[in-house]
Amino acid sequence: MTDLLQRPERLRIRPRVRRRTARRRMTWSELATYGAVLVLLVLAVVGPWIAPHDPYLVDQRNTLLAPSGEHWLGTDGTGRDLFSRLLAGARPSIIGAVVTVLAAATIGVVVAAIAATAGRVVDGIVMRICEVVLSLPVMMTGLGLAVALGPSQKSAVIALILASWPSFARLARSEIRRVMVSPHVEAAQVLGVSRWRLLTKHVLPNSLDTVYVKAAMDVGGVIVIISSLSFIGAGAQAPSAEWGAMVESGSRFLNNAWWVTGAPGLAILVTSAAFSLAGDALRARLDPMLSSSLGEAPR
């Protein structure tokens, strides 16, 4: 409540967003989560090149080896180096999820922008479509579509994009509609700003914060879903090093070589958690209730 002091006015209508102008210093935990995400993204890109072994090299003499100096995480049922496979699998797993979320968010925002500005009929139709898609569990839609498209990593990604854009559309639409009636947008309307400029310069920059947060948090979940699709055979296929597929192929050895399943499982867990935490940190930063109204405001 101490921020009562610094608003020189009495109507305390707080602008909800101040990202471009916020200059709060990052905390260590924020740095840690963003850093983890960054490291994971870098690994996803360079993983295959820094892998100590060929992730696809079958070595029947050295199957199901326990972790050792030579094979840091041991080997799988066909003697492939697990650590190298994890690195190689980072790309399909993480990049796949990132691509899925970026595409879904982009489609969602474009659809939302059209729905929010085109008038009632279009808006109604678009939102009904969204509701129908949203009423189905993402996993089910993904599974159905992936099977229909033929099981592969690409189908899994496409299926998930199709299943998840409506949630972005709904979120973006409600934000856009909120911002559309805010006084600064009305002020731009009174100035005679064209519709396109109004949308791109005045409305969207102020409505996308929550979309960014949702996107960051969703990556974690999507990694799990893509892996799950692979696990049940609807996504990436053997011998791909996609983590979900690895969990599946290792599950047969769970009793005598748990690390074959455990290592990719843990990779999924850690990556998913890292993205979710990063999303949470982003939300905390953008959320006006949590960030202070002035850089130097007491908390």
């Binding site: 020189p8 102008t21 006084p183 309307q189 009174v190 100035l191 005679g192 700003v193």
Partner: protein, 281 residues
């Protein structure tokens, strides 16, 4: 008297009341404003004063009635006419916090009207014009790269006024521009608006809930109550001898910064409410 620059005739704007009925926010309002006039529109919340100006600037569409600006019928205006209207009629909003985009710099905010209405202006010319209007409102070029959040409420309202002045409007509509400000800062903004009115010859519509503020800015006043025009006339006569009982009540409710007079006013107010036995709330 010259022909009015802005004329509202029988404007009606209704809203659904949530039970299938309609409530008239603006109920057959007719107003004529001549060029260079300063008209105060006064009323309490729900009086329809804000809806009326929102109809004028096109943020709301009236159900019926006509609004004419300088020969342009706003309902049937051509693209070019509409464009001219958009340039010549500018507005300042109530809340200086939410009426400036937090993502745009002062230069972008103030220059926006120029981007729209003077697209051939170069960046440098636009910047010069921004500095010019900022100086008019008491700020300087140093404000250009900064964002609204680094300004106080009074300064923000100056930025909002600069934004409105940039395209060289003929009419300035102010929707309670000082009611969110401290009294000490209110006076700065009122003084500024008054200077703009006089020096630039702007026609002004000034919305207020308080007759005292209007007295310092306007030459005529229109009192609205429940969507209707209760009384209209020159400030001097309406304040001295209000015809409508409602106007009288509004005047009587305004505190006077003079202890003896204010005590007398309060006693008068008490006597009149006891006499009426009806209390608005």
């Amino acid at each position: 008297m010259s022909a009015p620059i802005l004329e509202l005739r029988d404007v009606v704007k209704t809203y659904g009341d949530g039970n299938g009925g309609r409530v008239a926010a603006v109920d057959h309002v007719s107003v004529a404003v001549t060029e260079g006039q300063g008209l105060g529109i006064v009323g309490e919340s729900g009086s329809g004063k804000s809806t009326t100006v929102r109809c004028i600037v096109g943020l709301e569409k009236p159900d019926s009635g006509t609004i004419t600006y300088d020969g342009i019928d706003l309902a049937s205006a051509s693209r070019a006419e509409r464009k001219r209207f958009r340039r010549e009629v500018q507005m300042v909003f109530q809340d200086p916090y939410s009426s400036l985009s937090p993502r745009l710099s002062v230069e972008e905010i103030v220059g926006e009207g120029l981007v729209v209405h003077a697209p051939r202006m170069s960046r440098a010319q636009r910047r010069d014009r921004c500095v010019e209007v900022l100086e008019t409102v008491g700020l300087d070029a140093g404000a250009l790269p900064r964002f609204p959040r680094s300004f106080s409420g009074g300064q923000r309202q100056r930025i909002a006024i600069a934004r409105a002045l940039a395209p060289e409007p003929r009419m300035l509509i102010c929707d309670e521009p000082v009611s969110a400000l401290d009294v000490s800062v209110q006076a700065q903004v009122i003084t500024l608006l008054r200077r703009m009115h006089r020096e630039l010859g702007l026609t002004m519509l000034f919305i207020a809930h308080d007759l005292a503020v209007v007295r310092h800015l306007c030459d005529s006043v229109l009192v609205m109550h429940e969507g209707r025009v209760e009384e209209t006339g020159p400030v001097s006569s309406v304040y001295a001898q209000p015809e409508a009982g409602y106007t009288r009540a509004l005047l009587d409710a305004i505190p006077i910064p003079d202890p003896a007079r204010d005590r007398a006013r309060r006693a008068r107010w008490r006597a009149s409410t006891i006499a009426e036995e009806t209390t608005p709330a």
